[in-house]
């Protein structure tokens, strides 16, 4: 018997955005305060898993048509690219650099290449978590 999940589905639609925003916040907070790419990726996966619980796997795959294995590969490329970029500049592998830039809206901001490496970690964590959950969920 199919029950009517109107309350769960409506709440999941709204709460998904709140969790996703929190994940983005925790990702950018990682440099000076607790947080970072790993936690941000896990929280993002939690938001997608909430959608999968409220709706079903096929519907969520049609909403977010992402191949998560490619996402893992992209994340690894981003992380490795950040690490090898310093070799081109003649510094040892994994040397990070940072500088202060005057951006048009944000004003004086410190941009650090570690954030790019963290973004790679974020993509890998989201991809791996979602791949595991989807392959288990697809088993009939």
């Amino acid at each position: 018997m199919k029950t009517n999940d109107v309350i769960l589905q409506f709440t999941a639609k709204i709460v998904f955005f709140i969790i996703f925003f929190y994940a983005v916040h925790i990702f950018f907070a990682g440099h000076y305060t607790p947080g970072g790419g790993f936690v941000g990726g896990l929280v993002t996966s939690c938001a997608i898993v909430l959608l999968i619980i409220a709706f079903d796997l096929k519907k969520v795959q049609s909403i977010l048509p992402i191949n998560y294995i490619y996402l893992v590969a992209t994340g690894l490329i981003v992380a490795l690219g950040t690490a090898t970029f310093s070799m081109i500049a003649g510094k040892p592998f994994f040397t990070h650099s940072f500088d202060y830039f005057n951006l048009p809206i944000l004003g004086k901001t410190s941009l650090h290449t570690a954030a790019l490496f963290d973004f790679g970690v974020y993509l890998v964590v989201v991809g791996v978590t979602m791949t595991i959950i989807q392959t288990i969920g697809e088993d009939e």
């Binding site: 199919k2 029950t3 009517n4 109107v6 309350i7 589905q9 409506f10 709440t11």
Partner: protein
């Protein structure tokens, strides 16, 4: 409704550009002036003023806080009674609400006020199945839901 909000924001930005002073206080002044203009020109719009809806939402929040306190006191009285005279029961409540968010909001309000819990929504979303802690006054419960929460939610969603 959304057109009025956009118009009000546009007027606020216009005020900011006219006075060429880009600060939050200017924006707020412009917003209030735009609100006055929209109030004056209310006959042009074929839907309700959005400020009415904001007022209805504030009223709903106040009503919810009041009901929460009252219902918790009544449950406290039930718990502290030496004799258990209550008769738990399920009943079906036919609602007039149609939208998803309205049903979700009504169910949450019913569940958060103690004594009643929504356990199921029917497949056509036309009736809620509610568990009530004391079935001696089911009619009073139905009346109170219909006349307080449902009326307030309908007041918010009326175009």
């Amino acid at each position: 409704m959304s057109f009025q909000i956009l118009l009000n924001l546009f007027l606020a930005f216009l005020w900011m550009f006219l006075s060429s002073n880009y600060s939050v206080s200017r924006f707020i002044i412009g917003y209030l002036l735009g609100l006055l203009a929209i109030l004056a020109m209310r006959r042009f719009f074929n839907s309700r003023l959005y400020i009415d809806r904001v007022w209805a939402i504030i009223k709903l929040v106040v009503l919810f806080i009041k009901e929460l306190i009252l219902a918790n006191i009544s449950v406290l009285v039930l718990v502290l009674k030496p004799k258990l005279e209550m008769q738990p029961a399920f009943f079906k409540y036919n609602t007039e609400l149609t939208e998803e968010w309205e049903i979700t909001l009504l169910s949450s309000l019913i569940t958060l006020t103690p004594g009643t819990v929504v356990v199921h929504v029917s497949n056509d979303s036309k009736s809620l199945f509610i568990h009530v802690i004391d079935s001696n006054d089911i009619d009073a419960t139905i009346d109170s839901i219909r006349n307080s929460f449902e009326k307030a939610i309908l007041e918010v969603s009326r175009t």
